[in-house]
Amino acid sequence: MNEFLMIMKSEWLITAIIFLLLLIKLGKGMKNGSLLLLVQVLLLLNFITGFFFNKEGSLFDGMYHTSSVIIFQKNILSLGVYLISLLFADWLKKSEHLPEFFILLLSALLGMFFMISSGNLLMFFLSLELATIPVAAMANFDLGKKISSEAAMKMILSSAFSSGILLFGISLVYGATGTISFVTLPTQLNGSTLQILAFVFLFAAFAFKLSIVPFHLWTADVYEGAPMATTAFLSVISKGSIAFIFMSALYKVFGSMNEIWYNMVMILSIATMIIGNLFALRQQNIKRFLAFSSIAQVGFILVGISSSSTEGVSSVVYFVLIYVFSNLAAFAVAASISSQTGKEKVDDYKGLYKTNPFLSWVLALALFSLAGIPPTAGFFGKLFLLTAGASKANYMFITVAALNMIVSLYYYLRVIRAVFMDKNEQPIEKINTDPATKLGLVICGAGIVLTGLLSWIYDYIQSLN
């Protein structure tokens, strides 16, 4: 029994928090402020505990397994959730359904934990749904807003559709191999065309969740409509977890079909980077802008994934870690501004530096990191992804990726330009950021700078493999 507790420690903790919140909700409830503080403390504790008493192993006949990499991945996700609780404090405090929000969010997180720990297709599917359905509900949390429910609708319908595709694929896999376990599956894969077809179905479902072109179309709309905290969760935590499981599924389960999926990943990666960038170029809404930019980022993650090496794993994990800091910071700044002024357009940001230097610097740091400019960590993240991807000596692929960095730089600079250079008669007034948000931004800023420069972080990740 002790083993159950230890190996599934992270899941237990999350479950415990969920139930605690549920109790509070069912009881007389608490004021939003103190409840939020409680949640923040709990999440921080959760994050910190993630580094201790870890035990590797597998349970339930291999349905659940964990390893040091997986534990670290979970820690990244915990960190992200903790940061979300800090960064979006302003919006959260105003929310009527704060406990529900966190219950859903943590359920989704739990789903992600199970997902990256899953050892068979059933567990994978279930936890994927657990990680999706609550988020769809969370997307609707701006209850009065039309676009919020539109976003939720788009998300739930298209993810249901993608689930259908996924399931059909799984059923074909099951039929062709007779197993759904990740351990035995690889031995049964022989590259027959039906298996390829089934694989494509599965791949498409992953691609849908990761917003890979052409399965990405829901992303921008959902990001734009959903409340900022949900969007941030979706774009960072959700993406990260999917990337992890996607990678390990490709490597471990479909390792024998490497040649096929390498090409698939390459084509889609190029398409994703290009399309993501081209759309990001013309966005005015900051959330939509970040959505497309995150699509382009996924293209880069794919470059790393394509390497199918331990370097690939570490660089993807590393990149996601950096991405957590950078993207959350960007969203948080946008959220602070949006929740106090309602402004979400890039043009509204003109002259922001005059009135809000702190927010501007954090935003700039985050965007530079997303663009891969040193000394921010994004530079290292992107570079390692490319380096991992380059190990196949596919120059064309790497060149396209590298050139896409320029396009992406262009639109990141567009925001930078608005913030720092453009003149504005009526800039956004001084924003009063919540202390928690400030703390979160500082953590993100430090993370953005230090994750790269302190090389032991990467080495630690690498050593986990």
Binding site: A393, F420, M421, S455
Partner: protein, 493 residues
């Protein structure tokens, strides 16, 4: 001599600047930092000479190596040879001059100086790193400060220029990146270490792909034709110190990279592509010169002339002889100092006349003798007057280039020689119209340089004259290094 100091000093300066409360504190901190840089650079210079005199046979001196991302075989490996020392000296000169010239920046002073110092940090790091990854890291660090400097403190169509600059430079560095990755994976042990790589023969087929990537990538920084178009716009929109840094330091990153990374690591590729390099650089030299002739804006003029002058750098590198490569490095140093000074002077003039159009000026010698004297000096340096640095560098390039007897090299050299005439035409035109002739109405009461401007100009002039009158020290510094590069090239047959 601990090379880390070269990174730490700017870093500390930058941090200190962020902590300062008001503009004047910021300025003085920046000046102190810049002075410290200059002192450090000189200490390094003398320490290096001492080692050299003692007969230290190592290619790279003062090496230091720290672990950094060991899983990628990346290490923070520092070291200098003569070329780096020369570039570091150049950087230190330009930085202090840039700091002095910007004394009057009123808007967002703290940020301005912070970015300036950050830029210098990137440059130093670039010049001392012996690990390609670290080198690339510093190369990119230097891009964004430029963007912000132009975009925030610039004038004219600054946003456009800043964007263009950042994108083109990033484009260049993207190519560099791909090239570096190719190099990285071409060797069995996967290393970014420059010295290790130079011991290993990089396979010819890799060189064939990676050399052009690296050379063009770095070439963008140093305005290789036809990827030079960021230069005119970028320089002309930048604030004075920005232009100085841009032309004085940033463009040198490219030349240094071409030499240190592309040619040094891939001699075979260099040989294969030398013809193209020569053709392109010759075009750049002449074309830049002729384009300069038609400019009416002083900054555009200097920017285009930079294209032409940097063509000499690439020509020198492309010729692949010891002398020509030495000349290329000298040209980098010389052009760095000279063009920084030129921009400084243009800035001073602009601050007073509020125009940069040559035909709107005239007879300024009367009211600002000091500034115009400097303008004369720098103009003469630009057109290659002996006794000033430009001459030495250009002549070394010519001498080196002439060593190939085949027609292409000959023609290229002759064409390059002829460019000195065109240079004379445009420089004299500029000087004639701005400084000489009857004074234009409204300019009678303009003031001459202030102490900081004078100091800045004098520092750079000292550099220019020192190289011009005593080139041997620079030559002694650079030539052994280029000899080593040449030996690598000669190994390839």
């Amino acid at each position: 001599m601990n090379l880390l100091l070269l990174i730490l000093v700017p870093l500390l300066t930058a941090t200190a600047i962020l902590l300062m409360r008001n503009a004047s504190q910021v300025k003085w901190v920046a000046l102190t930092g810049a002075t410290a840089q200059l002192i450090l650079a000189f200490v390094l210079f003398f320490a290096f000479r001492k080692e050299q005199a003692a007969g230290n046979p190592l290619q790279m001196l003062f090496q230091q190596q720290y672990n950094w991302f060991p899983s990628w075989h990346i290490s923070f490996h520092l070291g200098v040879d003569g070329i780096s020392v020369a570039m570091i000296l150049l950087t230190a000169f330009v930085v202090i001059a840039g700091v002095l010239v910007s004394w009057n920046v009123a808007r967002m002073t703290k940020e301005f100086y912070f970015l300036l110092i950050l830029l210098s940090l990137g440059a130093y790091g670039f010049f001392i790193s012996l690990d390609l990854f670290v080198l690339f890291f510093f190369l990119e660090i230097a891009v964004i400060p430029k963007y912000l400097l132009i975009g925030i403190w610039g004038n004219g169509k600054k946003e456009y220029s800043a964007n263009k600059l950042a994108l083109m430079l990033m484009g260049g560095s993207a190519l560099v990146l791909v090239g570096l990755l190719g190099v990285y994976f071409s060797t069995p042990e996967h290393t970014f270490d420059l010295l290790k790589l130079s011991d290993i023969q990089i396979p010819p087929e890799v060189q064939k792909i990676c050399f052009p990537l690296l050379f063009v990538g770095f070439g963008v920084f140093t305005a290789i034709f036809p990827l030079h178009t960021w230069v005119p716009d970028g320089h002309s929109s930048a604030p004075t110190a920005g232009s100085m840094f841009l032309a004085g330091i940033s463009m040198k990153l490219g030349g240094y990279g071409c030499l240190r990374v592309a040619v040094f690591l891939m001699p075979q590729g260099a040989k294969e592509y030398s013809t193209i390099i020569i053709v392109l650089s010759t075009i750049a030299i002449l074309y830049g010169a002729f384009a300069t002739m038609m400019q009416k804006d002083l900054k555009y003029m200097n920017a285009y002339s930079s294209v032409s002058h940097c063509g000499f750098v690439l020509l020198g590198i492309g010729m692949l002889t010891k002398v020509s490569m030495t000349g290329a490095v000298m040209q980098m140093v010389s052009h760095g100092l000279m063009t920084a000074l030129f921009f400084a002077v243009i800035g001073m003039i602009y601050e007073r006349t509020h125009t940069r159009q040559v035909n709107e000026m005239g007879g300024l010698l009367k009211v600002m003798p000091f500034i115009i004297t400097i303008l004369f000096i720098v103009g003469l340096c630009s057109l290659g007057l002996p006794g000033l640095s430009g001459f030495v560098a250009e002549m070394t390039v010519f001498m080196g280039s002439w060593q190939h007897p085949d027609p292409l090299h000959r023609i290229a050299t002759i064409a390059a020689c002829l460019s000195i005439v065109v240079t004379a035409v445009y420089i004299l035109r500029a000087i004639g119209q701005t400084a000489m002739g009857p004074i234009k109405a409204g300019y009678e009461n303009l003031s001459d340089a202030t102490w900081n401007e004078k100091l800045a100009a004098i520092i750079l002039v000292i550099g220019i004259v020192a190289i011009g009158t005593a080139p041997f020290w620079l030559n002694d510094l650079v030539s052994p290094a280029s000899q080593l590069i040449l030996e690598k090239i000669q190994l390839v047959q």
